[in-house]
């Protein structure tokens, strides 16, 4: 008779850190489907502007390029935070985490400014299918950036109080994966939603 205890021996389990990392990748995979569906919707409606302004009239490419550059550089500061964390340099980890959060917050401020400008120029969410699909897509991305900024700030505080523990909860590597994913999504959105539409 098979010994069930032997089959389910604890030593046969993969390390928890490994499981959590795979779980994060699975979550990011589901996020790809989420953003993929929103992007497909935008591409279907991008020419349906009705009486409202279209992409060419309203997009400010130099401004969005600067925002994109800021978010891209936040991925660099994030990987430097992870690098410092692996070297057990908690001071450098905190500095890079806070730097990343500030760059993310700057990107968000830029998005709020951009949305405000668009509304003033007549592009409200109810103006046209183009407007609704644009605001929903970029707005959800902004919400993801906001969540990331909160997680980064929390990690910086946890690091300062010595409670940043790799073996439980979120750690620098997992938050880093999330942050880089948010950046990768913006790389696609910047190209497809902005640059290819003007």
């Amino acid at each position: 008779m098979t010994d069930l205890a032997e089959v389910a021996a604890p030593e046969a389990h993969p390390p928890m850190a490994h499981v959590r990392k795979v779980a994060m990748w699975v979550f990011l995979g589901s996020e790809c489907i989420f953003f993929g569906s929103l992007l497909s919707t935008f591409l279907l409606y991008r020419t349906k502007t009705l009486d409202g302004p279209g992409a060419e009239e309203i997009f400010n490419i130099p401004f969005t390029s600067a925002s994109s550059f800021i978010l891209l550089m936040s991925s660099l500061t994030m990987v430097l935070a992870h690098h410092a964390h692996e070297r057990r340099d908690s001071r450098a980890t905190r500095i890079w985490l806070i730097g990343t959060a500030l760059l993310g917050a700057t990107f968000l401020a830029g998005q709020v400014f951009e949305f405000t400008e668009f509304v003033q120029e007549g592009l409200k969410i109810s103006t046209s299918p183009f407007a609704s699909s644009f605001y929903v897509l970029t707005g959800f991305h902004g919400a993801h950036v906001a969540v990331g900024v909160l997680m980064l700030t929390a990690m910086a505080f946890m690091s300062a109080s010595g409670r940043l523990n790799d073996s439980e909860g979120m750690n620098v590597e997992l938050v880093g994966l999330y942050w880089h994913f948010v950046d990768v999504v913006w790389i696609v959105l910047f190209t497809v939603v902005y640059l290819l539409q003007v």
């Binding site: 850190a17 991925s75 994030m78 692996e86 880093g176």
Partner: protein
């Protein structure tokens, strides 16, 4: 170390170089939009540059280049 599957990660200097490459690609992307005479080449160039940035971030910053496959 958070996991045991890392092989050998880049140095901070290498990360800065990768960041610089990403910045240059972004600058080229923006320039392509304003360069006249590219005609039908604009979209393929922008898609190729976007794909290059995507790949660099995923492989270097998300460590897909260094992690062992499952």
């Amino acid at each position: 170390m958070t996991t045991t599957q890392h092989i050998s990660h880049p140095t901070a200097r290498q990360y800065w170089i990768v960041g610089g490459i990403l910045a240059v690609i972004t600058a080229i992307e923006v320039a392509v939009v304003y360069i006249e005479g590219l005609g039908g080449w604009v979209a393929p160039i922008l898609i190729a540059l976007g794909a290059a940035k995507f790949t660099i971030v995923a492989r270097w910053f998300m460590h897909l280049r260094f992690d062992k496959p499952l």
